[in-house]
Subunit: 135 residues, 2 copies
């Protein structure tokens, strides 16, 4: 049983690596947020650029406090609602650090007993110069 | 020690779930391929659409036999080369099942002791009607 557990353990370490490679090579700006605490549990470089700040600084922060929402609805309720809808509307907010208008496209899932949102951040049409990137 | 291993095991199951959610919600067409065997080890729905066929049918297939390459270079060498470059050129091929021109953007990584390519498939300009999608 110990051996089987160790074999499984190896297989799951593989998924951790795959997960990290997917996050970092993704062209999407991705944030994982705990539904219970509202805190960012992971965030790729693309998302850090969109929100303004480093991924290291953003992990552990409350996502809601990083953005300014349009409505008065509860932030997590809005995400849960958008996640449940089939239409891909997203939740429109403004990122406080970068000043960018973004649309949050959430997917709610359960991992290790905790409800987690995977949020894809889409930048909306630039209203200032913040979207100009030198490459 | 057993308890610690089990706790780790739980944490790694979490990564498996995260990995699967990332794959399926990604807007990119993604294929994982073993560098040793050339076989597709995983493939999301977006990639299955691009290659033509179901993800279930594609897993286990040789990626090279799913595509027609332009040059005479060894397929895996081409992927390794493109993965090593900083310029994002990609490897141009035609998907046999769908007839689509695609550009493969590979990232080589090592997981559970095995070298794996994460391949992002970009469809090039449509040459026929295959790119028209009804949404």
């Amino acid at each position: 049983a110990q051996l089987a557990l160790e074999r499984d353990y190896e297989a799951h370490r593989d998924f951790e690596t795959r997960y990290r490679v997917l996050m970092e090579t993704s062209q999407d700006a991705l944030v994982l947020m705990s539904a219970a605490s509202g805190r960012i549990t992971d965030c790729n470089q693309a998302a850090a650029r969109v929100l303004g700040g480093s991924a290291e600084a953003l992990v552990g922060c409350n996502l809601e406090s990083e953005v300014e929402a349009n409505g008065s609805d509860d932030f997590i309720d809005s995400l849960a609602g958008a996640s449940a809808e089939n239409i891909k509307s997203g939740v429109s907010v403004v990122a406080r650090r970068s000043g960018r208008k973004i649309s949050i496209h959430p997917t709610l899932f359960r991992a290790a007993g905790e409800r987690t949102f995977l949020c894809r951040l889409e930048t909306e049409t630039a209203t200032d110069g913040a979207d100009i990137e030198i490459s």
